[in-house]
Assembly symmetry: C2
Homo-oligomer: 121 residues x 2
């Protein structure tokens, strides 16, 4: 028996979410100028999100457009994350300094399918 790394902690891995239903927060954005503080704060927020109650996983990619999808056990968990003190600060900086435009979409995942490299056994 091997003990692997904490599931879902690899930022380059797909999120290992449970069977639906659960909640997704789809955050899409375009940045203004490149601000090194942005990247640092974004990383801190991902780490902080992972420690929140009801957190299920997170997936993120950026080219011109940035997409971050975080997964939560239910709407209350997603809503609570939005209100975490440090996250509120980051949201303020995002609105006032970093984002040219952004949109947050809250969704209920109703079904999913796919092919994983690793089985979940």
């Amino acid at each position: 028996m091997t003990v692997g790394p904490c599931e879902g902690s690899d930022e380059n891995a797909l999120a290992h979410t449970p069977r639906p239903p659960y909640v997704a927060v789809i955050f899409t954005s375009r940045l203004r100028d490149n601000d090194p503080d942005y990247e640092l704060t974004a990383r801190k927020m991902v780490a902080l999100a992972r420690s929140q109650p009801g957190f299920l996983g997170i997936e993120s990619a950026r080219e011109t457009l940035g997409i971050t999808v975080s997964y939560w056990s239910d709407e209350d968990a997603a809503r609570s994350w939005k209100q975490v003190y440090e996250h509120l600060g980051a949201q303020y900086l995002g609105k006032t300094r970093w984002y040219e435009e952004y949109r947050v979409r809250i969704a209920t995942i109703v079904r999913d399918y796919g092919a994983d490299k690793l089985s979940d056994t």
Copy 2:
């Protein structure tokens, strides 16, 4: 009065979706080796998706992880897109050649908010 480009046709723009509810298909993947055919097919599929009934918008970004979120008027529209002939071919190539792993999550968008650079007037 100016006439802008077709709304939603810019691949670097955020999708301009209507008021919820509507449907999102969240497709996340990791590629195997770099295959030039992949990029070409991916672009074709985005163009083809845009011409489907019930299509509302699409947002895409790739670093190590790729995330494409397509938005649809309802579940039937999303399901029909999955069954389009050329798309079935691309799905087969994706499974057998391109993707190390992937997941498709079908979701109902229940609410959204954000800040747009351009008003929709």
